[in-house]
Symmetry: none
Subunit: 262 residues, 2 copies
């Protein structure tokens, strides 16, 4: 389990974990403040957008603490303390946040109620299934098990991508013109950022192991989470603001531009 990290690698990961804690905490405050600026129809979407970064904030704090406990710097070198680095926090985080990310997208699109409940439930369950199926592969030590669960996990992943790109096309076309481009951007960002995870999962099977691979994985997961949760959340916030405005909501003290997004 313990690997031979250089001091530079140890610090790079540590600083990226801290960076992510700061981003997630700041994003949470931003989204929850934004909640008061959007029309009532979009408040739940903003609540959930902030919940996602809040849950990630908590888990990155735990991950950083675990990283801290797993290694110590002595005599200018990184030494494993014997306490294993608990990377499973990531799976616990994803189990909660990935379904919520899809739900915030569905909510901000504001489909008819029956469709909202149906689509959010289906996508939420598929996302949870995708994470649950990934976990046994992640903790497995042999390649056969890793491959099996990678393939199993990619089935709900592919289904979600299909739903986002084909299933939601009609709903996207019904979005007001001001928000349509942003909704499309949110769809592409989701799939783009999410592709990072199954690729990283393949690393050990491709012979990419050791300190450099571990550093890349930790930094890469942190960046992917920042994009998939915080940047994605800013898009959700902008969509909610544009749609609120298009629906004539809110005090607009000087012209239509009063309440535009971030």
């Amino acid at each position: 389990m313990p690997i031979e990290l250089s001091v530079g690698q140890y610090n790079l990961v540590y600083n990226f974990l801290s960076f992510t804690i700061a981003v997630m905490g700041a994003a949470t405050v931003f989204f929850w403040f934004g909640r008061n600026q959007v029309a009532p129809a979009y408040k739940t979407a903003m609540t959930i957008t902030g919940l996602v970064t809040f849950i990630a904030f908590y888990h990155y704090f735990r991950i950083a603490e675990s990283w801290d406990a797993a290694y110590t710097i002595a005599d200018g070198a990184v030494q494993a303390t014997g306490t294993p680095f608990n990377d499973a926090y990531r799976y616990v985080d994803w189990l909660l946040t990935v379904p919520l990310l899809l739900i915030e997208l569905i909510l901000v699109m504001r489909l008819p109620r029956a469709e909202t409940v149906k689509t959010a439930t289906r996508l939420g369950l598929l996302a949870a299934l995708m994470i649950v199926l990934g976990y046994p592969g992640e903790v497995a030590t042999d390649d056969a098990t890793r491959w099996t669960f990678w393939v199993l996990s990619m089935i709900p992943f592919a289904w979600i991508v299909y739903e986002l790109f084909i299933g939601l096309t009609n709903a996207v076309n019904k979005q007001p013109a001001e928000a349509r481009g942003l909704v499309n951007a949110a769809r592409y960002l989701t799939v783009g950022a999410w592709l990072f995870y199954p690729i990283v999962f393949l690393f050990p099977m491709l012979g990419l192991t050791g300190a450099t691979a571990e550093t890349f994985v930790q930094v890469g997961y942190s960046l992917a989470d920042v994009v998939a949760k915080a940047v994605f959340g800013v898009l959700i916030y902008m969509i909610a603001m544009r749609k609120s405005e298009a629906e004539g909501y809110g005090p607009q003290p000087s012209g239509k531009t009063a309440k535009q997004g971030a």
Copy 2:
């Protein structure tokens, strides 16, 4: 008291405790934000729904700390530190949250005031009595005492089930059509999730002890609490939203879909 846990079992429990902390914290924020979206008549129900998860958040934090203090990983194996794992936090939690769970259901149903006070008091006291009677059995070491208090505790449990299914039938039928299905779901969820607890209580008497049983108990209690408190709370929130809407509450800028639930 200390048992021979494998590293996998230790981590599984640890990750589930952390998962539950995250769920309870996130749910609390969600319910307290939701409080501002429902009609005044349902605000107290939402306050209490969030209080339940907030109290659980606190206790799961304590339980995780106690789990952390009770075991340590050294040389790739889990070793008991000598500090006993304090599972009694669960009873302290239930003593507070179980009466509140019943009260939030009564409040969101919005019975006539006299009936609300009477039913909430009766169900709240029965729930507290159920927990108090369970505790001496939980800490007892002999099977006879465990059985005695299990039976005693099941009397208020059965009474509560009776009240939920027979006593509240009229009140459920008077709920607006939009919310009736959800209120029924909340009743079934309560009884379904609660059945887990007396069954787990029986484990030691059925010879189910040791590391596997302990892992199952901790993971199972965590999941049962997530369902009974957070998932149940989402139902309460949805009932409050639907009823607020049915009563014409709230700004609905464009159409009935304005205030859709999570």
